[in-house]
């Protein structure tokens, strides 16, 4: 991975992005954060609806129809902006404990969201019984915590040294 990161650093797009780095990195990072806001807002509404803490005037199906596409769309925006950030600074991202831990959480979070959104029934009664299942409610809370972890780990990419010897970036120390 270290070699790949260094190879990627030498590619023309990586170089081109870095030439613009004074505005491009904070700019793309900001769009990446706007994307997280879209994802978190949508996820919060769905989770609160499952728990019965908000959105009681909407059926589970209406809630997932309203926020599901934004959740998926937000995640796609994250994928695109995230890839640009990786191409721009391959070593910072790819040789990084926080980054790979975050990717595992992203896979778990995306899988949980996808499986749930695919299983929401059209029928209101069935939706209610699904939302009342203890396993579904627990998974909703777990998914939310996974996404909170994604945010924390994303921020910790900049502070990977706090992991000590787990961080490949601090091997030089």
């Amino acid at each position: 991975m270290n070699q790949f990161a260094h190879w990627l650093t030498r590619t023309p797009p990586s170089h081109a992005f870095r030439v613009q780095e004074s505005w491009l990195v904070p700019g793309i990072q900001s769009i990446h954060i706007v994307g997280i806001a879209i994802v978190m807002g949508s996820l919060l509404m769905i989770v609160l609806r499952i728990l019965g803490w908000a959105g009681g005037d909407q059926t589970l199906r209406e809630t997932s129809d309203r926020f599901g596409p934004w959740l998926v769309g937000g995640l796609c925006l994250q994928l695109v902006t995230g890839l640009v950030l990786i191409i721009t600074e391959p070593v910072r991202e790819l040789v990084n404990f926080s980054f790979w831990t975050k990717m595992i959480c992203v896979a778990i979070g995306a899988a949980l969201s996808g499986v749930f959104l695919a299983r929401v029934p059209d029928d209101e009664q069935q939706g209610e019984s699904l939302a009342h299942q203890r396993s579904v409610r627990s998974l909703a809370v777990i998914a939310f915590v996974v996404f909170l972890s994604i945010i924390v780990l994303g921020r910790l990419i900049a502070y990977d040294h706090i992991w000590g010897s787990w961080s490949p970036a601090t091997e030089g120390y």
Partner: protein, 204 residues
């Protein structure tokens, strides 16, 4: 200047010093700050899109507003608290940072914008709350709100690129990438030489 003396004494408190001296406290507080404001912006955007008639159009605005806003305020409280804590760690640097100042002005404008909603479209919500979108004043507030919050995120992010302990760093740290590419195996620290790390003041 008295303000600098005040800021200096804030930085000198045991509280601020403890966070500065810790390797993990500032990053964790900053992460919670990000969690807080992504929830603030995410939930506000849901309301703004409803005002513009772009989403949730079939839902009563009043119902939605009272349903969501308490979560927005809770997240905002977390964001302000963590923001204040971060400020204490390097009060002088933040105070003099132009992007920090711009961010504070934009936050103030976002608050005024919300107040403007209350005295315009917010007053007549009974008459349009079940329609697809808000009257023009409500739409204007929504567009301004979205623009302001995105700008606030950008300012917040760029603060991390322009603050450095003791001085204002240029936005582009003068790192020559080729230097470390030529010696990737010389025991260097690629993470540390990566260009433009978000050099938050808490980070050493």
């Amino acid at each position: 200047m008295p303000i600098d003396a005040i800021l200096k004494s804030i930085e000198a408190t045991r509280f601020a010093t403890a966070i500065r001296d810790s390797i993990w406290m500032f990053p964790i507080i900053e992460s919670v700050h990000v969690i807080g404001f992504t929830l603030v912006v995410g939930t506000i955007a849901i309301i703004d899109l409803r005002l513009l008639g772009l989403a949730s159009v079939a839902r009563s605005f009043e119902r939605m507003w009272s349903d969501i806003l308490k979560w927005t305020w809770a997240a905002f409280a977390v964001t302000v608290l963590t923001g204040l804590i971060m400020f204490t760690t390097n009060a002088q640097i933040y105070y003099h940072n132009p992007f920090f100042r711009t961010k504070m002005v934009l936050l103030l404008l976002a608050g005024i914008n919300m107040g403007a909603f209350e005295v315009t479209a917010g007053r007549t919500v009974q008459s349009w709350g079940n329609r697809r979108s808000a009257p023009p004043a409500g739409k204007a507030v929504a567009v301004l709100s979205l623009a302001l919050w995105i700008a606030i995120i950008f300012m917040g992010r760029i603060i991390g690129f322009t603050t450095h302990p003791g001085k204002l760093a240029p936005p582009t740290p003068g790192v020559n990438y080729d230097d470390f590419l030529q010696s990737p195996s010389s025991g260097g620290n690629p993470g540390a030489t990566s260009p433009a790390p978000p050099a938050a003041p808490g980070k050493k």
